[in-house]
C-alpha cells in the first residue's frame, strides 16, 4: 500500500452477504497486489465510489480518446473529483471484441489478464451489455500500449459512438440442439465485413448485429439490435413419437395438455388418442415452446435458415422499439447465401447512412418514413410476413392499386417457376 486507504463505510456494507462482492475484489487489488500503481488506482477508485454513494451522484466525465488509426473503441473517463482521488483521475475503458460465442481457454484469459496487469487497473468484465470485453480503467497513455499488446495476439477493439457495434451470438451450434444456423459464421461474416465501420464512426448513430440460433432468442436480438438474425426452419418439425409417448407416460395426459398442447400460440398441436403428437406444421410459427418442453422428442426440421428483423432499440429517443421482419426466410448454407446476407446488411446500412438523421437509430428512421419507403430504398419487396395485421386506416392514396396487384401476381408466378 502506497498511501493511506480511503475509508469506505458504505461500500463496506457491500462486502456482507453471500453473493460474490465486487468491492472485496477491488480491495484485494488495493491491499494485496504487488504493483503500487494498481494499489493506488484501486484505492482512489474506491474513494471516488464511496463519495458517489455518500452524495448519490456520479463523478465521471467523458472526453475524446482513441488509439492510433481508430476513432472508436475507448470509453474515455476523466474524474471530476481528481484532486481528492488523484490516481484514478484517468480511468478509461477499452471495449475489446470477444470471439463469437464468448469462448475462451483459461490460457487466453490468463494472457489477457497479464497484459491488463501491465497497463490497466486490473478490473475487467466479461462482458458489457453490448457484448464487449470491458477492460475497465486505464490512463490515456496506456490505452495505446494495452491495445498494441493484445492486438498483436489477435484481439481488436469494438465499436463505440455512431458506428457498427460489437456483435453478439448465442452458444447455438456449439452446444444447443435448437440451433438452426451457424451463429459464429453469421456473426463473423457480418462484423468482419464492416470492420471499417466499427473502428471509424461515421454513421447517424449506433448499429448492432445480434445472432440467435432459434426463436428463443437468447441474445435478445429482436429488442436489442438493429439487425437481428434468428434461426428457423421451413419444413416440418421432427417428432420422435416414441420419445413423446414416453414423456406422456411419465408426466401424464393432463400435464401434457396443460403444458404443451394448450400453450401453442396457434393451436397447432393436438394429442392423439394413442398419446402420440399431431402437429399442424403449416400453422406452427416456430415459437419454440413445445420444443423447449420436450427437447428429447421434438426438434427443428431440416430445411433451416434465418429470419431477419430490423430496428430494435431501447428508449431514447422515441421510446422502445422491437425489430420487425424484413426477410421472412433466408437460406444460410453456402457462400452465396452468406453473400446475400452481407449484401442485405450493406443495403440497409448504406440507405440509413444516407437517410437517417443525426442520432437517429435505423428503427426510428423506419418509423419516420414508413416501412414501405424503407423497403423501396433497400430494394426489398413487401411481404405479408412483415406485418401483424393489414392497415386499419383508410387515409391513404391507392391510385396505383392495379399496378401493385399485378406485381404481386407476377412475383407469385415467378416464385412458382423457380421452386
Amino acid at each position: 500500500m502506497a498511501k493511506k486507504a480511503h475509508v469506505t463505510p458504505m461500500l463496506d456494507e457491500l462486502e456482507n452477504g453471500p453473493w460474490p462482492s465486487f468491492i472485496s475484489g477491488i480491495k484485494r487489488l488495493r491491499d494485496e497486489h504487488s504493483d503500487d500503481r494498481i494499489n493506488g488506482v484501486a484505492n482512489s477508485l474506491l474513494g471516488q465510489l464511496e463519495h458517489s454513494y455518500e452524495t448519490r451522484k456520479g463523478y465521471w466525465k467523458g472526453g475524446t480518446i482513441s488509439v492510433y488509426g481508430y476513432g472508436s473503441g475507448i470509453i474515455p473517463r476523466f474524474s471530476e473529483v481528481a484532486q481528492a482521488f488523484e490516481e484514478s483521475k484517468e480511468f478509461h475503458t477499452l471495449r475489446v471484441q470477444p470471439p463469437a460465442g464468448n469462448y475462451y481457454t483459461t490460457d487466453i484469459l490468463r494472457q489477457l489478464g497479464d497484459s491488463w496487469e501491465k497497463y490497466g487497473s486490473g478490473l475487467v468484465t466479461f462482458h458489457g451489455q453490448t457484448g464487449n470485453i470491458m477492460f475497465i480503467g486505464t490512463s490515456s497513455e496506456n490505452t495505446q500500449y494495452f491495445f498494441n499488446e493484445v492486438n498483436e495476439y489477435g484481439w481488436d477493439l469494438g465499436g463505440a459512438g455512431p458506428c457498427v457495434r460489437t456483435g453478439m451470438s448465442c452458444v447455438g451450434s456449439a452446444r444447443c440442439e435448437q440451433s438452426c444456423i451457424d451463429e459464429m459464421r453469421v456473426h463473423r461474416t457480418l462484423l468482419n465485413n464492416f470492420t471499417d465501420d466499427v473502428h471509424r464512426p461515421a454513421l447517424p448513430y449506433k448499429f448492432k448485429f445480434k445472432v440467435s440460433g432459434c426463436g428463443n432468442d437468447c441474445m435478445n436480438s429482436i429488442e436489442r439490435s438493429d439487425f437481428a438474425i434468428i434461426g428457423t426452419w421451413r419444413d416440418d418439425m421432427k417428432v420422435d413419437q416414441d420419445a413423446f409417448k414416453e414423456y406422456v407416460a411419465g408426466k401424464g395426459r393432463q400435464h401434457t395438455i396443460d403444458n404443451i398442447i394448450t400453450r401453442c400460440p396457434t393451436n397447432a398441436l393436438s394429442l392423439n388418442d394413442d398419446d402420440s403428437l399431431e402437429v399442424d406444421n403449416r400453422n406452427c410459427v416456430r415459437c419454440m415452446h413445445c420444443l423447449n418442453v420436450v427437447p428429447k422428442a421434438l426438434s427443428p426440421g431440416d430445411d433451416k435458415g434465418a429470419t431477419i428483423l430490423m430496428g430494435g432499440k431501447r428508449t431514447l429517443k422515441i421510446g422502445d422499439l422491437m425489430g420487425t421482419v424484413i426477410a421472412p426466410f433466408m437460406k444460410l448454407d453456402d457462400d452465396d447465401d452468406y453473400e446475400a446476407l452481407t449484401e442485405l446488411a450493406e443495403e440497409v446500412i448504406d440507405y440509413w447512412a444516407e437517410n437517417g438523421l443525426e442520432h437517429e437509430r435505423c428503427g426510428e428512421m423506419v418509423e419516420r418514413i414508413g416501412l414501405v419507403n424503407f423497403l423501396e430504398g433497400i430494394g426489398v419487396e413487401v411481404d405479408p410476413n412483415m406485418i401483424a395485421e393489414t392497415r386499419s386506416s383508410s387515409y391513404v392514396r391507392m391510385d396505383d392499386w392495379d399496378i401493385e396487384a399485378k406485381k404481386w401476381f407476377e412475383r407469385k408466378a415467378e416464385q412458382k417457376k423457380t421452386s
Binding site: L11, L14, P18, W19, P20, G25, I26, R28, E32, Y53, T55, G58, K61, Y68, G69, I75, T93, Q97, P98, P99, A100, G101, N102, Y103, R110, G113, L123, F126, I136, Q144, E152, W155, D156, A174, R175, C176, E177, S179, D182, L191, N192, G215, N216, D217, N220, S221, I222, E223, R224, P265, C287, M288, V293, P295, R314, T315, L316, K317, I318, M322
Partner: protein
Amino acid sequence: MLEGQRTPTESGCPDGFQYMHPLMRKNYGNWAYHEDPRPGVLKHTARGGEAIYTVRAGTQRILDLFTLRKLCDIGDEYAEGYVRFTIRSNIEYMVADGSKVEPLIAALEKEGFVVGGTRNSVAMISHTQGWLHCDIPGTDASGVVKSMMDELIDEFKNWNMPNRVHITTACCQINCGGQGDIAINIQHTKPPRINHDLVANICERPSVVARCPVAAIRPALVNGKPSLEVDEKKCICCGACYPPCTPMQINDPEHTKLAIWVGGNHSNARGKPTFQKLVAAGIPNNPPRWPEATAIVKKILQTYKDNARDWERLNDWIERIGWPRFFELTELPFTKFHVDNWRGARRSLNASTHIRF
C-alpha cells in the same frame, strides 16, 4: 508517429473455434437434446452420442485479476480448461468427463462462487455500469445487483420459479438496460437544473435542443450569455438532454428515484416478445443496499411463484390473471401514472368488455 503509435491490425471479431472445447468443436451443429441433471448444470448430448456437461456459476461480474485467475485455476484443476460467459456474465465450464462435475461445483462453491442460474431459476441480474464507470448514471448498478443477489441467491440456486426470471437494472432512463421479467430502472422526478455558466462553453445547443423527446428545450440568453431553458411543464424528466450537455443536471440525490417494471420478455416462445410495463415507482435510490427496491422485487417474485402456472413467464401470468388481480396480489398501488400517454398509448387501453370479477 508518436511513441507507441502503431498501425492496428484490423482483425475484428476473433474466431471462437480456437478456444472451444474439442468435443463441442467436433459436434458443432449436431446436437440432439439436453437434460438438466441439477440446478446450474446442463448436459447436452450430440447425435453421435457424445455428451458435454456445463457448470454455470455466478460471479461479481466486475472481476479483479485475483478473481479472474482463481476462476482460471479452478478451470485448470477441476475442469478441462475451456470456459465461456453467458449474456448475463455467468461463467460456464464445459467438461466431457461427467465425474468432474461434482468436484468442480465443490471447488467453485468453496471459493464463494454460486452455481445455478439455469432453467426455472432467477437468473443473474444483468446490469449496466453506474457510478463505478458511467458518465451519466443516477445510481450504481453493481451495488444494486450485489444487494439484490444476496437476497435472491436461493432462487438463483434452485428451480423454484414457474419459468425462468430475467431481472435487469439500468442506471439511467434512456440507455443500456434491457427488457426484463423484472426491471429496476432509474426514474427522474424533477426537470434538469441548468448550470448556465457552463452551457455556453461545453454544449452544442442545437443538438441538445434536438435531443429532447418532447421539444421542451429552447435556446435562451441568460445573464447575457447563450444558454438553454426548459419548459418545466412540458419536461418529462427523461434525462436525454444530459449526455450531450452535462450542465443539464438531471441527477439529483433526492429526486432521482427507482421504478420497477415487469413483463419484458425477449423470447418468442408462446407469445411474441413483449416490453416491460410499469408497476412501481417513487422508490428511494438508497445506497449502499437499496432495501426498498429489493423488498418490492421479492414481493413480486413471491406472488409470481405462488400463483403462476408452470412455463408462464411473468408476462404470460399477468396476461392470464389481468392487471387488477396483479395489483391486488402484490399489494402495490395502482395510480394514474400506470396509464400510458406516450405515442400509441391507446393500444394499451381496454377496448372491450373483457373484465374479470
